[in-house]
């Protein structure tokens, strides 16, 4: 697996998306799939940085692990924040998504876009680390 570390600050997001773009290109993902993966990883990384690190004053890096196979691009975000399962929170349902803007709650959209955008998303807490795993299917021409 390839590995790259990023400082756990919001300024890293730009570079993180560029790196995900490079991995997607190597894997041969189409433009739309690349964008969806960038968006999903940006959303989860933002939560790690803002709530896992900055809010509690934790200064640490987070890691991006990746593997390209014939069928898949697998990207894992690994961080040192307290255990947090993004799938445990309530995700907006159909009723929330059709609500007028003025009546909307401002939360949950990030994880919703993550789940909708990738072929598989999973979470585990292993050896004191959060591991968020994103899988994109590679469609060979």
């Amino acid at each position: 697996m390839e590995s790259k570390s990023f400082p756990g600050v919001v300024d890293s997001l730009d570079e993180l998306r560029a790196y995900v773009g490079e991995l997607s290109q190597k894997a041969g993902l189409a433009k739309k799939a690349t964008y969806s993966l960038k968006l999903a990883i940006d959303e989860i990384a933002t939560n790690i940085i803002l709530y896992g690190y900055e809010k509690v004053g934790l200064v640490a890096d987070f890691k991006v692990l990746s593997e390209i196979t014939d069928q898949e691009l697998i990207v894992i975000l690994e961080d040192e924040a307290a255990a947090f399962d993004p799938l445990a929170r309530e995700i907006p349902d159909e009723e929330d998504l059709t609500m007028a803007l003025e009546d909307r709650e401002i939360g949950g959209l990030g994880i919703f876009l993550t789940i909708k955008g990738v072929d598989d998303f999973s979470y585990e807490y292993v050896d004191g680390k959060n591991r968020n795993t994103f899988v994109m299917n590679v469609i060979k021409p």
Binding site: D14, Y35, A100, L101, E102, I106, F112
Partner: protein
Amino acid sequence: MAFKIETVIEEQTARMTLHGELDSLSARVFMTEIEKLSGQPIEVLVLDMEDLDFMSSAGLRVLIFSKQKIGTHLAIYIVKPQELIVDTLEKTGLHHSVTIVDQYPV
């Protein structure tokens, strides 16, 4: 790509042109621009997104915030958003609350 925003206010219309990528860092800049409109008699917010290449949920939250902060009467027009940004607006249902157009005035 670095985020940039330019705001022009003419009578009751605020027009903002967004460039680059809108993530949780740049959304703070967008939010500050929206906050400046608060208390002004703005009826229409025009967001020119032709040169915006990326928008995360942080950008969507500013759209929600703008309606809640400026007022429910506010009409929001999004001009020429890129296809993948339209996709995000549609997935999250926000396209019901804004008007997507090719140019403004329509």
